[in-house]
């Protein structure tokens, strides 16, 4: 098992190098270092000397990927790509182009993101499973049919509508919660109620339907028939047996996304003014802040790979028949 984990971690390295390369190429095809300098130096009265100075200071005056002028052996290392990427692997993100420390920023923005994403995941899971159990219990009745239709209808509404509508109705018309903003500690609750509710509501459609299929699949198994034949009440069958067994695919499905919760949610965060990580990256793309884009993509991929690893491990935990080698 340990060997397996080590191998997976080693396997992650080429992936991270690849991710880094892709980010780098995509970013610098769009933006030249000159563009970045202009963006940082502002619009008025920018001279070319100032741009050269800015680039030299930050090491963007070197060739991007291949330095033909450098001595042998340093042709690949004396480049922007190499110098900017190597430190990432030690999780040293350095400073953003506006001189704010990235690691510091991430630590600050992580909590609001989690404060939004974790409740959405947990409440969402609870609501979805309840709703799915409900539909599974009443399968093949009109309740099930309309439940599924409701799910599909909820799925067919763009997330933008949920947010725009929810904000308009709950905050503007009914004055129930603040329209946007965030505060630390317990004060966060009043800001988070609406985004969490909207996040949950937007997820019911696809989630409820998905879990319903899982439950139905589980209910077609032999042990369920045996339990029914024993004369157990349908509710007992459902809650004691089906739910328990269906938890395996549900939980392993959830484990994948847990690390990614750190990345936050782009739409909710910007509409509700929550200073999390989701909007950080988009802001950075718009501000052409390469240091931030690079770091966030790197963290994103690390978390994704971590999620995959956790999934594999969770399989072995819930199902002893699976062995990792």
């Amino acid at each position: 098992m340990l060997a397996y984990i080590v191998r997976r971690v080693l396997y992650a390295i080429p992936i991270l190098v690849g991710v880094n390369l892709i980010t780098f190429v995509l970013f610098f095809v769009v933006n030249t270092p000159d563009d970045m300098a202009r963006m940082q130096l502002g619009a008025k009265r920018v001279t070319s000397e100032a741009i050269e100075k800015w680039k030299a200071e930050r090491g963007y005056d070197k060739p991007l990927l291949f330095n033909a002028a450098a001595p042998r052996g340093a042709k690949l290392t004396q480049t922007v790509f190499y110098e900017k990427s190597v430190r990432l692997f030690a999780f040293d993100f350095g400073a953003a182009e506006d001189n704010r420390d990235i690691a510091n920023e991430i630590r600050m923005r992580m909590w609001p993101s989690l404060a939004l994403a974790v409740p959405v995941l947990i409440v969402g899971l609870a609501v979805n499973i309840t709703f799915a159990l409900f539909m599974a219990f009443f399968r093949a009745t009109y309740l099930d049919f309309w439940g599924v239709v409701l799910c599909v209808a909820l799925m067919s509404i763009s997330a933008l509508f949920y947010i725009i509508g929810g904000q308009y109705v709950a905050s503007k018309l009914w004055h129930l919660v603040p329209i946007s903003g965030y505060a630390g500690g317990f004060d966060a609750a009043k800001f988070l109620v609406l985004p969490v509710l909207i996040g949950v509501l937007a997820g019911i459609g696809s989630g409820g339907r998905w879990y319903r299929t899982l439950f139905l699949e589980e209910m077609s198994r032999d042990y369920v028939r045996t339990a029914r034949a024993k004369g157990l009440a349908e509710s007992v069958v459902l809650f004691r047996h089906v739910l328990k067994n269906a938890m395996i695919p549900i939980l392993t499905g959830v484990v994948v996304v847990i690390p990614l919760l750190f990345m936050g949610s782009l739409l909710s965060e910007s509409f509700f003014g929550i200073p999390g990580l989701g909007s950080y990256t988009i802001d950075a793309i718009q501000a052409q802040d390469f240091a931030v884009v690079r770091s966030m993509v790197f963290i994103g991929s690390v978390l994704y790979i971590l999620g995959l690893l956790l999934t594999d491990l969770s399989y072995t935990l819930v199902d002893p028949r699976i062995r990792l080698q």
Partner: protein, 456 residues
């Protein structure tokens, strides 16, 4: 010729796709084993209803995909025939009355007056009031007649719809006799419902702005109808990019195993591990730069916007083939262990032949299901991407740009709700129909296929 056909890239692809689908339908009708799942699909009433609704959208989308340029009058002493630089579609032509009636600014649905007070003069005296619209209800002498006029137009529409009902009824009767297993009556009823909604709107639209006008006075109904084509293109052409990639790489990985499998797995894990929106945003911005730097490639703005749309589809395809590839890899792995394929190997059948004869046909149902299921997700994604600013060209009308613009209107006092409402209704119906149809297709082909769902 009074006009010059001017097919855009997406037009051509869309029609080619249409042709391919027609070919497939014809092929299926000849092979009963291929036709059977489709027959099962269309036994469902939901599928029939959705197919009709979807068909209406497709009809509008395709009418909007026949582009041309109008010929201008030959100037004296000049050579060559000049054509107008404006590219129009058949739909534009049919909706000329909506397209050309631009008001000054916002007006509410079916209104006769603007939504904002303005300073103007009546009999030489300056008044501050809501001015009458240039076109909306302009023919009415007295605004008090408006409710009657509207009722009359709706009545006329319903009357024509009732007439159509008879025709539909007859057609349904005849069709039912030929193929009794298909729920014709459900389809017919839906068509009738669509007509009963569309015809009154049509008759109203000659005199009013049924969904109001936007900030610069353009008809919102027209914009909603124009958005349909964009949605269809994003929903279908993206899969066109995604399918070959996902199929080829997924099946190859599962079949050849070894280093090919490793390489392909590496590729899609890497792509997958980059946060999706970022990848798309970066790629879209990149191609925008390319398009900006090569303004000379395009003779009209439509072409530029069109290429941007096409590239957007390509990028969406390039970033989302991984799910399908993984699914197919697993399937191919399973299939390649089966006895008959092992046997084919033993007989020395070439790999390409095994792939095309045995593996591909056996994963075809997954591909079809994936294609249908992806559609609605892509349509929804367009709106979100436009919000982030990496969607379609900002000058193109799409549901995303409509919602985005409408977002700003929600802050006005009094609120301007109709753009958002129109986008909501048209988009909701389209995605709902697509989703329900996709469900029916999945049930018909293979109810056990699990398409990716990510919680939260």
């Amino acid at each position: 010729m009074p006009f010059l056909p001017f097919p855009l890239f997406t037009d051509v692809l869309l029609w080619l796709l249409m042709g391919a689908i027609a070919l497939y339908v014809w092929y299926c009708s000849r092979k009963p084993h291929l036709g059977a799942p489709w027959a099962r699909v269309f036994q469902s009433r939901t599928a029939a209803i959705c197919a009709v609704v979807f068909g209406c959208y497709v009809a509008i989308g395709f009418a909007d995909s026949l582009h041309f340029r109008v010929r201008l009058q030959q100037a004296a002493g000049s050579e060559g025939t000049p054509y107008s630089p404006a590219v129009l579609s058949v739909l534009d032509l049919a909706l000329t009355h909506l397209r050309e009636r631009r008001e000054r600014t916002y007006s509410a649905p079916l209104a006769t007056r603007l939504y904002a007070k303005e300073q103007f003069e009546i009999d030489g005296k300056p008044v501050r009031d809501f001015p009458r619209l240039r076109y909306g209800g302009a023919r009415l002498q007295d605004e008090a007649e408006r409710p009657r006029d509207i009722a009359a137009r709706i009545g006329l529409g319903l009357f024509v719809a009732a007439f159509a009902a008879v025709l539909i009824g007859l057609a349904v009767k005849r069709l039912r006799r030929r193929r009794p297993q298909i729920p014709w009556s459900a389809g017919g009823a839906t068509l009738l419902g669509v007509l009963a909604a569309a015809l009154p709107v049509l008759f109203l639209s000659f005199e009013y702005h049924v969904f109001g006008t936007d900030k610069v006075g353009q008809d919102v109904l027209y914009q909603a109808l124009k958005s349909i084509r964009i949605s269809l293109i994003i929903g279908t052409l993206t899969t066109l990019v995604l399918l070959p990639l996902g199929m080829a790489l997924g099946v190859m990985a599962g079949y050849f195993k070894g280093w090919i499998d490793d390489a392909i797995q590496y590729l899609y894990t890497t792509l997958n591990s980059i946060p999706g929106v970022l990848l798309i945003a970066a790629a879209v911005l990149m191609m925008q730069v390319v398009i900006d730097r090569h303004a000379e490639w395009f003779s009209t703005a439509e072409q530029r916007a069109d290429l941007r749309l096409l590239v957007l589809c390509a990028i969406l395809g390039l970033t989302s083939w991984t799910g399908l590839a993984r699914l197919l890899r697993g399937e191919a792995l399973k299939l390649s262990q089966l006895e008959y394929i092992q046997a084919a190997h033993a007989f020395g059948v070439a790999d390409t032949r095994i792939l095309t004869r045995h593996i591909l046909p056996n994963v075809a149902h997954i591909v079809i299901i994936a294609m249908v299921m992806d559609f609605s997700g892509l349509v929804l994604a367009e709106a979100v991407l436009s919000y982030v600013g990496v969607g379609v060209d900002p000058a193109t009308t799409s549901f995303g740009t409509m919602i985005n613009a409408a977002r700003l209107e929600m802050g006005r006092e009094p609120i301007v709700w109709w753009s958002l409402a129109a986008a909501f209704v048209f988009m909701f119906v389209l995605v709902l129909a697509a989703n329900l149809f996709a469900d029916a297709v999945r049930d018909g082909f293979d109810p056990r296929v699990r398409m990716g769902f990510v919680p939260a």
